[in-house]
């Protein structure tokens, strides 16, 4: 099953509400995905700074790692969120920080990287996961989230979405891919690394590879229709926007709503039912095999 939510604000007046609205949408999707939940929030970004979102093994160990990072990188600003920490460093220090993490804190996972994107994911009921990370208090321009009912790989935090596909880019997925093992082997030959047996990680890796080869995100999504076998609804977050793609059969549900203030995505209409102005919003189902994209 799995549930997906996405909220892309057009009206800056709603930005302080982004986290609260997304948390509500995510909680509604608990019964489509009670195993784990995750979300990416696009908040404020400072020019010349890169944010890494790190996932530790426990809140305590993350706190310890964060203070070690602050000691090793005096320019780093850290914000703790339960098992995760967001570390902002000057762009030129990012590679050194990543090397430091790989060497000194190998148990720590880098789940997101970008100027604006922060990514959080954990095992547990979506409502609880959102609470632990304080989603309701977060502000920003757009967010995507996922609630997982595991089918293709184990219930672990590694198997939780979103998956990062590059700087300020991430992907959530509802469905299952049937050629992910083959594709993973091919992509490994292209030099991509995979941490899990999860099918969505392969889709994320595929898009990363296509964009590395020079395609735009929209074009990468278009060619994915030929290369990914299975059924899926993807929602992709980028620094300035978000995109939606359903496979040609479109058996995985998707509903969208648009007003002057926002574009919203939900696996079911229930997700959208409490958004402001939904009574007069344009509500529709995205067409199969069609790439949708919004930017601001």
């Amino acid at each position: 099953m799995c549930g997906i939510v996405g909220l892309f604000l057009k009206d800056p007046a709603l930005e302080p509400e982004l986290g609260r609205l997304t948390a509500g949408m995510l909680a509604t999707m608990s019964d489509r995905g009670p195993d784990s939940a995750g979300f990416a929030v696009y908040g404020a970004g400072e020019a010349g700074q890169t944010k890494l979102t790190l996932r530790g093994t426990s809140p305590l160990s993350m706190e310890e790692r964060a203070s070690e990072i602050e000691a090793a990188f005096p320019g780093a600003q850290t914000t703790l969120h339960d098992t995760h920490a967001v570390i902002a460093v000057p762009d030129q220090e990012v590679e050194a920080l990543i090397k430091w993490i790989e060497r000194e804190a190998p148990e720590t996972e880098i789940v997101g990287r970008g100027n604006r994107m922060e990514v959080f994911k954990e095992v547990g009921l979506p409502e609880k996961v959102a609470e632990r990370f304080g989603l309701a208090g977060m502000r920003g321009t757009h967010a995507i989230g996922h609630t997982r009912m595991a089918t293709e790989s184990a219930v672990t935090t590694d198997g939780a979405h979103p998956y990062s596909t590059g700087k300020d880019q991430c992907l959530v997925h509802n469905g299952s891919l049937s050629n992910h093992n083959n594709l993973r082997r091919s992509l490994r030959r292209e030099g991509l690394e995979f941490e899990t047996e999860n099918d969505t990680e392969v889709a994320a890796g595929y898009l990363t590879w296509r964009m590395r080869e020079g395609l735009s995100l929209g074009d990468a999504l278009k060619v994915s229709l030929d290369d990914l076998d299975g059924f899926y609804t993807f929602v992709v977050g980028t620094e300035n926007g978000f995109g939606v793609l359903r496979d040609g059969i479109a058996c995985k549900p998707a509903v969208m709503a648009e007003t002057d203030q926002y574009v919203a995505f939900g696996s079911e209409y229930r997700v959208l039912a409490n958004l402001p102005g939904i009574e007069t919003a344009r509500v529709w189902e995205p067409e199969p095999a069609t790439v949708y994209f919004w930017e601001r």
């Binding site: 479109a250 549900p253 509903v255 209409y269 229930r270 039912a273 409490n274 509500v283 189902e285 199969p288």
Partner: protein, 229 residues
Amino acid sequence: MPDIDLSVTPLRELNAALHKLTPETNERHWVIEHPAGGHAIAAGLNVPVTVEINGSVGYYCAGMNKLATVLVHGSAGVGVAENMMSGFVHVSGDASQAAGATGRGGLLRIDGNASSRCGISMKGIDIVVKGSVGHMSAFMAQTGNLVVLGDAGDSLGDSIYEARLFVRGSVKSLGADCIEKDMRDEHKAAVHDVLTQAGLDGEVDPSEFKRYGSARTLYTFNVDHAGEY
């Protein structure tokens, strides 16, 4: 006239109350507020009452409906009026996938568009869609009439049996074993009948529709038994 606010009353309580109704009930007109896309609202009704829902509903609204009239003033999620036996279901907005799936009788009217697989495996239900229907509509449809005032998506009527499909607009593509057929007077009369039952008498001219049905090459069809379908 019971007036149920689903932001206060649990959905299961509402459905349990509806299921308890007997044919002699005096509570014949129910109004539901704040459905908020909830699933299985007014599913499994078995008595001739009217349930009016103010807002959009989730999956399987009015599923398995028998005798009742269910009016949705909003849009409906997957499988509205799924396996309906009789009665009338009216959606004023759009309907998601598989509207009227496997329906055995009654009438489903959708004023907006219906998504993919509208009327999949229909078995006697009549479906009227004022807008368009999505891909794979009337897949393996067996009997009944699907009347579409707008367009139809890809693979209309794939692997169809004896259901009759009438489309006024364009058809993106026909599915396996589905062909266009002559629109004779009896078919115009059939379209007129269904439109009249749906309350759309006079809105469109039945002769504007094209008829699609089975080429009968994919299943064992014996012409001597044609009258039994």
